[in-house]
Symmetry: C2
Subunit: 320 residues, 2 copies
């Protein structure tokens, strides 16, 4: 390591928390991890994380610019993790995690949620380099989003903006969502949504042959649907057509809102190739307001999936 | 006029262009106007507007910070008016109006569309003073919007962001919109949309009594519906219930996107009182994602309607 500066990226997952030291070109030099859940309080977790960071950074302490964290229900405005359903020590409380980590390590610390971290990662290391207006859509179990406008994350007055997965896309008889409402975009456009669509189509078309019917000991997953689509399975292809169309229509609305130069799709489902992209692009071309036609590129994230979460989080620390 | 600085606000309407000199507290000192349409080219219009500005500013020239203009299809990124359907000399071309006005007057000049100007007006002189995240919705013939995030207008990569009137709110069998698509929010939530809803309800409920049926020599307007609602007319009340519900559902989606501290409603229809506000707030309370519940205030613009357009435009000039 030479004259340059480094940042520390922390990716808090539901099981483990991964830590990495990252340079300005997005290379991860040192890594470490701790459990996310083995603690009875936020204070205990912060103690363990602070110690792990201090160990990892011991040799390059003077060159560290700061720490960036991607955490579930992270509030960037005030550096807290708020009522995160899957984190035992933060389930019902608000923990001022950024301030706690600063006090353990001496480094400035910022945090935000995973999708916002992904957006910063794309801007600093990925496909959105040099862009000032873009949206990252993460297609995982749910649909997350990070919106960048004028070169800045849109976090809103309360720090929670960018919940595009919970825009209502089907207003009547929509699918039930984990949020307690119905018709949310993520109940259709996500790995879970794809599996749900396939299962619905199988049930609604009992006469249609599909290799997906052979999966009987466990629920059909989005990976099953992708594999079946590659073999030309009609139900699988119809599933992707439906998903792409719904997502394309939703993206047209998002373009009318913030007019991004690009929308970057991130996560496993984004790598479904033309099965997803073709109907998505078709729906956008049909549906988008004239003034925006052909202007917004759809890009598949090129960031290494395994590293993206640490990189995205670390990007926050360059933001000072 | 004392030591302080002034800006010039220019409001380009479909018929006339109004000009005003404005102080930092939003008081308009001098006014003037020219025709918008009596010219055969953008150059001729710029010549006339430049001359009118120079006349008006003659006595305070050294105290003018700059010119802000609100123009139809104004592109803030590059200071142009682009293919504005209702402006004869800009119908099919792109005119670099801001640069032309600077060359005629010597003052820096910025322009944007009416709804963005309204948003800046609210931020600098109106209900959004001190807010960094809010949305202004203008309810006129159509529905316009200006989105502010992190204290900056969201204009997007091409300068045309904030077309919330053209978000699709009814996906199947939606109303035909002037933009050539169907189901756009502004076909329901606008003065035109209210009149359209009332006419539909009258037709669909032939047995229901309504004073609106007495209007036979001209089409029913949104003002007619408001007057009838005040007298308890069932069709008129149902019209506002329907409009408020649709707008409230749309606003819930917009909150999920940029999480504004407030949404400010502007324009004649915004002054329909509880007829509109009650069903709107009810729909928002029912529909909004839990994390945003009760956080975003709905505010009716308090800016004097006659002055707001000049004030909003002038606000651009403080932005340097």
């Amino acid at each position: 390591m030479s004259e340059s500066y480094y940042v520390i990226g922390v990716d808090m997952g539901g099981t483990n928390t991964a830590i990495g030291i990252v340079d300005a070109r997005g290379r991860i030099f040192y890594r470490s991890k701790i459990s996310t859940t083995d603690y009875s309080s936020g204070e205990e977790y912060a103690e363990a994380l602070g110690a792990a960071i201090n160990d990892l950074a011991a040799n390059v302490k003077s060159k560290i610019k700061g720490i960036g964290m991607g955490v579930p229900n992270g509030n960037m405005n005030n550096g807290t993790i708020e009522k995160a359903a899957n984190i035992p020590w933060a389930k019902t409380v608000t923990v001022p995690l950024a301030a706690m980590i600063t006090s353990k390590t001496g480094f400035p610390c910022k945090l935000t949620n995973d999708a916002n971290a992904a957006a910063l990662g794309e801007m600093i290391y990925g496909s959105a380099k040099g862009m000032k207006d873009f949206i990252v859509i993460t297609l995982g179990t749910g649909l997350g989003s990070g919106i960048v406008s004028n070169g800045q994350l849109v976090v809103g007055h309360d720090g929670f903006a960018g919940e595009l997965g919970h825009v209502t896309i089907i207003r009547h008889n929509g699918r039930t969502c984990g949020c307690g409402r119905t018709g949310c975009l993520e109940t259709y456009a996500s790995a879970t949504g794809v599996a749900r669509t396939a299962r619905e189509l199988l049930e609604l078309n009992p006469a249609k042959k599909s290799t997906l019917r052979e999966i009987v000991y466990r629920p059909v997953t989005s990976e099953d649907v992708f594999e079946a689509a590659k073999k030309g399975d009609a139900i699988a292809l119809e599933t992707f057509d439906f998903t792409g169309k719904i997502l394309g229509e939703a993206l047209s609305d998002f373009v009318a809102c913030t007019s991004p130069q690009a929308i970057i799709l991130f996560g496993g489902l984004a790598h479904s190739g033309d099965f997803l992209l073709k109907p998505l692009q078709e729906a956008m071309d049909n549906q988008i307001l004239n003034v925006f036609k052909g202007k917004t590129k759809i890009i598949i994230s090129q960031l290494n999936n395994a590293e993206a979460a640490i990189l995205g989080a670390s990007a926050l620390a360059w933001e000072e």
